[in-house]
Amino acid sequence: MTNKDVAERTEKQTASSEWLTFLVFTLVILPGIAVAAIGSYGLAIWIYQMIYGPPIVG
C-alpha cells in the first residue's frame, strides 16, 4: 500500500465520520436536548407554582 492510498483512505474515513457526527448531532442529540430543556422549563414552572401558588392575575 502506498502512502497515497493511506492518505486517501483516512480522508474518506474523516468525511464519513464528519457526516455521521453532524447528522447524529443535529437530528438526534440537539432535538433531544431542546425537548429536555423545554420540558424541564415546564417542570420548573410547575414546581414553582406548587410552592408559591398559581399566577395571580388581578
Binding site: 480522508e11 474523516t14 468525511a15 465520520s17 464528519e18 457526516w19 457526527t21 453532524f22 447524529v24 448531532f25 443535529t26 437530528l27 440537539l30 432535538p31 431542546a34 425537548v35 423545554i38 420540558g39 422549563y41 415546564g42 417542570l43 414552572i45 410547575w46 407554582q49 401558588g53 398559581p54 399566577p55 395571580i56 392575575v57 388581578g58
Partner: protein
C-alpha cells in the same frame, strides 16, 4: 460494553471539537438552519396535536364523561356556531404556561396508566376534587381562558336581558372572574347523593376515621345527638357545629365528653352558647336533662348589660359516638369559608366575617341566605363560622 461506549463518545468528541475538514461551512450552516426549522415546526405541530379535542377525547375517561356533558351546553352548540373545545378553556394560551400545563399532564398520563378514573363510579368519586382544581385555577388567573372570548368591555348592556344586566354590570365594575358565578356552565356540578354539601361531606368523611384520645380536645363536624348514658339510649340533646368538647372517658367507640358553654338564665336554659353574651350556639339540650344537676354544673350568674339578661357558665358531661370529631377546627372553618365565599360572591362581594359582631351576624345572614342554595345544616355551620370570625373574635378589628 462500557469501554465501547466510552470509545464511541471519545471519537464523537474528537470529530466535534475540531473544525470540519470535509464538509464546507456553508453546508454545515445550511444543514443546521434547516434541521432547526424542521425541529421547531415539528415540535409545535406535536404540541398543537396534543391541544385538540380529538386528542383529549382519545381517552374514554374524557369522551364518556365530561365531553358528553359539554354537548348539552351552549359552549358546544349555539346560534352563532362558535364553540369552545376542551383546550380553549382548560389549557393556558400563553406559551410558557402551556408548556407547564403539558408537563402537569404527566399526572393525567399516570392516572390513565393506572386507571384512576377509568369507571363511571371512580370518576364521580373524584369529580369534586377535579372540579375544585379547575375552579382554583380559574379563581387564581381570574378566569383568563374564558376571557380569550368573553370580554367585559365588549358587553353591550342595552342588548343584555335586564336580569342578566342586573348581575353582570356590577360584576364588570369589580372585574369579577367568570367562574365565581358560572360554575357548572360546561360540565355537571359535583352532586352528592346524601344531599350533604360535598365540601362538608369531605370533612365529615375525614372525621369518621379519627380516633379520639382521653384528655384531648376535639370539635364536632356535624350536629349529633348526645346521651345521658353510655348505652346511648336517653338523648340529652344535640351538639351544634364546631362545638368544642373534651374527652374524659372512652369505651369502645363511645366517648364521654365534656362541654363548657354559657346559657341564659331565663326559661329552661336549654340552649348553650360558646361565650358569655354571644348568641353562638354550641348545643341544645332536651328539657329534662337541661335541669338535671347530675349532668350539668352551673357557675355563677353574670349580668349582660347589653341585653339585661343573666348568663351562667355551664359544664355538661354526656356520651356520644366516635366518628364525628376532628382535632383541628381549622379544617371545618376552611370548608365553611369556602362555602361562604362561593355562595355569597355569586351576587355580591361578600363582607369580611369581621365586618359585623357575633350578635349581628344572625340577622344579616338570615336576611340573605334565602337567595342561596345552602341547605339548613350548611346554613347553621356558615353562620357559626361567621360569628366565631366576627369582629368580636378577629384580631386587629374594631
Amino acid at each position: 460494553m462500557i469501554t465501547k461506549l466510552k470509545n464511541l463518545a471519545l471519537s464523537f468528541w474528537r470529530v466535534m471539537s475540531k473544525p470540519a475538514t470535509k464538509i464546507s461551512l456553508g453546508v454545515l450552516a445550511f444543514g443546521g438552519f434547516l434541521t432547526g426549522i424542521v425541529f421547531w415546526g415539528g415540535f409545535n405541530t406535536a404540541m398543537e396535536m396534543t391541544n385538540t379535542e380529538q386528542f383529549c377525547i382519545g381517552c374514554h375517561e374524557m369522551r364518556d364523561n365530561v365531553y358528553v356533558e359539554l354537548q348539552d351546553t351552549i359552549h358546544y352548540t349555539n346560534r352563532t356556531g362558535v364553540r369552545a373545545t376542551c383546550p380553549d378553556c382548560h389549557v393556558p394560551h400563553n406559551w410558557s404556561h402551556k408548556v407547564a400545563r403539558k408537563m402537569q399532564a404527566s399526572k393525567e398520563v399516570f392516572g390513565w396508566v393506572f386507571g384512576t378514573i377509568n369507571t363511571k363510579e371512580k370518576f364521580e368519586a373524584k369529580r369534586l376534587e377535579l372540579a375544585q382544581h379547575e375552579w382554583a385555577r380559574f379563581a387564581a388567573n381570574n378566569s383568563l381562558e374564558c376571557r380569550s372570548c368573553h370580554n367585559y368591555d365588549s358587553m353591550d348592556w342595552e342588548k343584555m336581558s335586564p336580569a342578566a344586566k342586573f348581575y353582570m354590570q356590577p360584576a364588570s365594575e369589580r372585574n369579577v372572574g367568570c367562574i365565581e358565578c358560572h360554575k357548572g356552565i360546561a360540565h355537571h356540578l359535583p352532586i352528592n347523593d346524601s344531599g350533604v354539601n360535598p365540601i362538608l361531606a369531605k370533612v365529615e368523611q375525614g372525621a369518621t376515621s379519627q380516633t379520639l384520645e382521653e384528655g384531648k380536645q376535639y370539635f364536632v363536624v356535624k350536629p349529633i345527638a348526645i346521651y345521658e348514658d353510655e348505652d346511648l339510649t336517653k338523648q340529652a340533646g344535640t351538639l351544634s357545629y364546631a362545638a368544642p368538647v373534651k374527652v374524659i372517658e372512652k369505651k369502645d367507640d363511645k366517648v364521654k365528653l365534656q362541654l363548657k358553654g354559657w346559657r341564659k338564665d331565663k326559661g329552661f336554659g336549654r340552649v348553650y352558647h360558646s361565650d358569655f353574651g354571644k348568641n353562638i350556639r354550641v348545643a341544645v339540650m332536651e328539657k329534662d336533662p337541661a335541669q338535671n344537676p347530675d349532668l350539668i354544673s352551673v357557675g355563677l350568674s353574670q349580668n349582660d348589660p347589653a341585653t339585661g339578661l343573666d348568663w351562667s357558665e355551664v359544664t355538661v358531661e354526656f356520651w356520644a359516638k366516635e366518628g364525628a370529631f376532628i382535632p383541628d377546627v381549622a379544617t371545618l372553618w376552611n370548608a365553611a369559608g369556602e362555602i361562604y365565599s362561593s355562595n355569597c360572591s355569586t351576587c355580591h362581594a361578600q363582607p369580611d366575617p369581621a365586618h359585623f359582631d357575633a350578635n349581628s351576624w344572625p340577622a344579616q345572614f338570615n336576611g340573605m341566605v334565602g337567595f342561596t342554595s345552602m341547605d339548613p345544616s350548611t346554613q347553621a355551620l356558615v353562620l357559626t363560622y361567621l360569628q366565631l370570625h366576627s369582629s368580636d373574635y378577629a384580631e386587629g378589628t374594631h
